[in-house]
Symmetry: C2
């Protein structure tokens, strides 16, 4: 059977033919050397060979197998090693670490590829009849452990790969809404919309390898959310096959019809059913798009400027403010071009530090995106720049924006590159109200530095603020450190736990757009209260009483103890 479109390499992020191009980024490697204080370049640890991996023998429920083969065409059912392997995990740190070492104690028993809603309906009916688990699979890009049923029983598990359901079903250009099958990957969805002159404006970092249904099931956020909203703001109506029947809502702008049924499906992470079709808000492709960069004296000042943009309703479509460490990283990330100088080096010259007397290691870079008709674009940019100026910003042109756009989908490849050198790298993201952004930021940075020290390792942590809303914004932390030789995962989980503990102890949300999966589950009750989780459990019990769907998620009572050992060797 042919591989499905855009299936990622089994041992890492992205296309098999692509590796992170460090050779063209000497300044980046130089920065890494400084940060991690290498005495010599670390050794490269390649992933194990595919042949060396032994998957558990597939469990087969004969009655289900018989019925499902009667229902679907042979090429809709796969049980080959590569299919099972690429559907076993997402792309979390734990996943990547295990995969590279060939630690695959679990894989789905079958991978099934439905072509339309009615087939999903039939599959769920058979799964219920024969007591088989079903785990919906979009692009497999999740970083929260959304696919692997850590809480296992003896039942057969099917991975339901949605990517053949990728059609744009209807576009209503007047109303600006489009109906799309949930399995469409980002590029496929945009390509179909673009042909009609439209865009959804949803570009998460995972865009190339994530699906519409995955976005909705995990409450994804795209880079331009300031203009277009998070995915939950875009959903107008939904079709979700559940074991208890098909949920279908109406394509209306708003309603008062009891509890909003769309919102029972959004964020359900595959636990209640399979999202098969979604109607989303879409927009005419803007005539003009640019991304420009500005330097601020420090992080506080940049945040104050973002808030002012929000309050004066002059927000660009994107604002992304890097803290000093992330600013330093951004300056070194672009590929070196012959004759080009690094923008920060240039900007940090005489003027900034001499005339303005800014402290170099406090300076922060803000990227702002503007979109619209020529006139709207100009108006938007002028309004934002007049606010930035009030906060003393220095414009540094379109160069950093171009670099950002060139490299925006490359970043996850860097993680694999570092992994190969035993530098573990991950992200933790949260959101809070404006008045709490700096206190939360400082608390997390301080807790993480303490954690690195406790582990006696050289660690790096940077942060950017993005996704502005009326009440607040998101803080997105990236961290990396030189991993211990032994007990690497135990060490990693101690450090990761530090970031999440700090979020919950300091008024942050568990996650802004990365879902719960099992990686965040031990904190769910602290975030939404015990009765909040009980409400989710009530939905689960009512719509999926036999626990067919994505077992052990959201309401699985998954505590720290299990989290610390889940899926790891010898546990």
């Amino acid at each position: 059977m042919a591989r499905e479109p855009a299936t990622m390499k089994w041992w890492g992020w992205g296309d098999e033919s692509v590796e992170f191009d460090m050779a063209s980024r000497p300044a980046l490697w130089e920065y890494a050397r400084e940060v991690f204080q290498f005495e010599r370049d670390p050794e490269v640890r390649r992933p194990v060979e595919l042949d060396s991996i032994e998957l558990p023998i597939a469990r087969v429920n004969p009655a289900f197998e018989c019925d499902i083969r009667r229902t679907l065409a042979p090429d809709q059912i796969a049980d080959d090693k590569l299919s099972r392997l690429t559907h076993a995990y997402g792309k979390s740190c734990r996943d990547m670490w295990r995969m590279r070492r060939g630690v695959v104690p679990w894989a789905p028993d079958r991978v099934i590829f439905p072509h339309q809603h009615d087939e999903v309906r039939a599959i769920l009916d058979l799964a219920r009849l024969h007591s088989v688990h079903v785990i919906p699979f979009g692009g497999g890009s999740n970083v929260a452990g959304c696919l692997e049923p850590i809480v296992q029983d003896e039942r057969m598990v099917v991975s339901l790969d949605m990517r053949r359901m990728d059609r744009l079903l209807r576009l209503d250009p007047e109303s600006g809404v489009a109906r799309v099958e949930a399995g469409a990957l980002g590029p496929r969805f945009e390509e179909q919309l673009n042909l009609e002159g439209f865009t959804a404006g949803h570009f998460p970092d995972s865009f190339l390898y994530s699906t519409v249904g995955g976005w909705v099931a995990t409450r994804s956020a795209g880079m331009q959310s300031d203009r277009y909203g998070k995915i939950e703001d875009m959903v107008v109506s939904i079709r979700m096959a559940t074991p208890a029947g098909d949920i279908e809502t109406r394509t209306v702008p708003r309603a008062s019809n009891g509890i909003d049924v769309n919102h029972l499906c959004i964020g359900s992470e595959g636990t209640l059913g399979v999202i098969t079709e979604v109607t989303l808000r879409v927009h005419r492709i803007p005539d003009k798009k640019t991304t420009r960069a500005y330097l601020f004296r420090n992080f506080e000042t940049g945040i104050a400027a973002m808030l002012a943009c929000q309050r004066e309703n002059t927000a660009p479509v994107m604002m992304r403010l890097n803290d000093p460490n992330k600013t330093a990283l951004s300056a070194r990330f672009p590929k070196a071009r012959p004759g080009s100088k690094r923008f920060l080096a240039r900007a940090l010259g005489k003027y900034v530090t001499g005339v303005r007397r800014w402290t170099p290691d406090e300076i922060c870079l803000l990227l702002a995106g503007f979109e619209g008709s020529g006139r709207q674009h100009t108006r938007q940019r002028r309004a934002a720049e007049s606010i930035f100026k009030r906060f003393g910003a220095i414009g540094v042109g379109a160069g950093p924006g171009r670099s950002f756009n060139d490299g925006k989908y490359d970043f996850p490849y860097l993680r694999d590159y570092l992994f190969e050198r035993d530098i573990l790298c991950d992200v933790s993201e949260t959101a809070t109200v404006w008045s709490n952004l700096m206190p939360l930021y400082r608390a997390v940075i301080s807790a993480m530095q303490t954690a690195f020290d406790a582990e006696k390792t050289h660690g790096w942590i940077g942060c950017h603020v993005s996704h502005s809303y009326h009440p607040g914004a998101s803080l997105y932390f990236t961290f990396a450190y030189v991993a211990a030789q032994d007990h690497q995962m135990e060490q990693f989980l101690r450090i990761k736990k530090t970031s999440l503990d700090a979020f919950l102890a300091n008024g942050g949300s568990l996650s802004h757009h990365h879902a719960v999966g099992y990686e965040h589950m031990p904190w769910l009750e602290s975030d939404v209260s015990e009765a909040g989780v009980a409400a989710m459990r009530a939905l689960k019990n009512g719509l999926d009483p036999e626990n067919i769907m994505n077992p052990g998620r959201l309401t699985g009572g998954f505590g720290f103890e299990r989290w610390q050992t889940a899926g790891l060797p010898g546990k």
Copy 2:
């Protein structure tokens, strides 16, 4: 016991001392004469005397009574006739019709007034322990039958009047969020915010007599929703006491933490628990506010202009487009002022019909509200007016806007005035996508005309479009007709059903902001699908397994047959 603040007259809308002032509106009565083709002024039928009403004897659960009197102060528990009567119904047509005739087959057995969250928690625990029903009561302004437990069992029923829980608990001016107790009536909430320089910007027609918790439980919409959103867009976090425990969410702008728990509480209509505290987005009071009026050639053209405002992101804070009938009504609604001329008469002069050659009975009035700093206000108005101009609109100044603002909370009193004269009057509101606004509008108008004809009565129906969103807007229909002498409610329900059937058959939602109650329940499955209702039922079973809360709502399986007779004499 003293009456609670802002309790409405038991037999009609609003303050006891206020009656609709028809004497100052001779043009309005003249219009009614034309429309309803009176041969002579109809007789006035006053409501029955309070003394003539006999309430059913209060059922008392002695164990609950004993425990609750130990828990609360004596003035927190009422069982007098007026308290029971004013908590029996909302203000729907069916409610008003029955109340005026003294048809009160049901009233709560006790009315309880909690002072804070912990007391609500204790009351629910006792209610669960002793198997007593609890119906949360805000301002009693609902028009969908949200309070009366049509599906009755033998248990005692407590009406939980939330209006003593009316404090602003916290304001975070930087983040623009305010925590308020759910029982605050609109004016009380705004007054506390205004003292700090803030406003919530939520002004539903029921503003004077509805509470924050009622808004959230029913998914209310305010007149300025184009700028400030519907209430569900404003909620940042929530506290809801449920029989299964207290749900509490975090005050964060957005999250990805599974199914959005806020949205399990919003719209739950008292079926899952009692909303006790809410954190809402709030805004600095704008320096300048105006409402201006514009005439459009016809309804389609007005809608096209509203859509253009939406697409070009230059929407005023409010746009309210009347259809020709509603335009005619608006022209006659303001009180006559000595020497003043009616704006429409003036506008309809030579220029509009002579020079522009518009057809008088197609002309539509649009009211647009602008708010902000002086500069923002000017920019907003200029941008909108340049779009209106493109669609051929004629500005008719601030007069109609002033009249609208003067009279905006008077409209419900008119219903009582007409009721007294056996003219039944009601509203039905829905929402749909832009491309379907005109088809849905035409289908509803045509169905209702057919219904009036079938009833052999003179009927009037008007409509306005308001609440613009990216994908569509709301259609708000007002209708009135000369009621038959016999079987008035049966006739009314046939006509009312016509409007709802037309919504559901033509792509509208069941309601845009009036809730489900029991008045809309027979259509709920058509709106959100059988499995959608099953999902709500799952929540109910999980959080309130003993069916303590607001029995029979949302998931009560309330069909047409019961709807047609519910609460009516002899049924």
